[in-house]
Amino acid sequence: MKLETLSALNEARRARRPALLVTDLSSGDERLVDVASVSSDPLATHLDAALRMGKSALIEDGDQRYFISVQTPPLRILCVGAVHISQALVPLARVLGHDVIIVDPRTAFATPERFPGVPLYAEWPDKVIPTLGIDRYTAVVLLTHDPKIDDPALHLALHSENFYIGALGSRKTHGKRVERLQAAGFSAEAIARIHAPVGLNIGAVSPAEIALSVLGQITAALRLKPDGSKA
């Protein structure tokens, strides 16, 4: 691999752009293909399939064998709520290789002392989230318990392409949330995208256990098909 190619791959990752690397396995020749150039590439069909599945693959084209390496952006967890659960979630998410962003307009919660080294936005979600962007590699987790903060973020999440939405709160709290969403015009299908009560049922009690259950559910959303079989 050329250093130039390696550098471009790393640059794409930092900019959250998907990238495809095609390597000729006999010569080692390579080319980097961005999403916009997939359709004009000689291996367009294969590249398109690899990108869609998010899976690297070995393919044969005539006598040649190529390896298509798919690099998708790192998964990002957008946490609304600079709360105790978020503090526990940060180190766990790091171990999993995910980026975490914290949004909470309450300046007493959103402090660097509580979240060292984490991108932290002490602003209202409807103001800051549009600038951060929610993409298909983003999970949105609502943890404030406060509709004034959670709901605007939830509206943005439901209007965007993301792979997971989770919202903290009991069934009763979620029932009220569903009523507000219905009143705001969201369809049953859209509302069904929300995982609530948030997290896998592992009997979590402590903030760290709840964070673990949320990350388990995020992993399942990423790795399993809707029917529960392996994607």
């Binding site: 250093l3 390696l6 790393n10 396995l25 693959a57």
Partner: protein, 108 residues
């Protein structure tokens, strides 16, 4: 933290820019119950230091040896490990799977 393959590529670039010789090994094909999926990577420097994994620990030692050859020779190599291969059995892909690993040098 070198938790995923992208972090490993960032390390590869950093190592190379610091003047170290670097090779990248990528799992390109698997059969049976291979321990790490296609696309998994191991980054190796000229002194045999490595990051990442291609088999969860089973054949890393052998891949490092291949990488040092590739660093010396310059040309890439496709290597297979599996139960069908006695040498591979010795290096320990005992889980019963087979993997093909593409080893290439980071040039320039």
């Amino acid at each position: 933290m070198q938790a995923n393959d992208e972090d490993i590529l960032a390390a590869a670039e950093e190592w190379r820019r610091a003047g170290r010789e670097v090779a990248i090994a990528t799992v390109v094909e698997t059969w049976g119950s291979a321990p790490r999926p296609v696309g998994s990577r191991l980054v190796i420097d000229g002194d045999g230091n490595f990051l990442g994994s291609v088999s969860g620990g089973c054949v890393e030692g052998a891949v490092v040896t291949e990488a040092l050859d590739v660093i010396a020779a310059g040309a890439p190599k496709l290597v297979s490990f599996g139960v069908a291969d006695e040498t591979a059995w010795q290096v320990g892909l005992s889980c019963g799977g087979r993997i093909s690993v593409f080893v290439e040098k980071v040039a320039a």
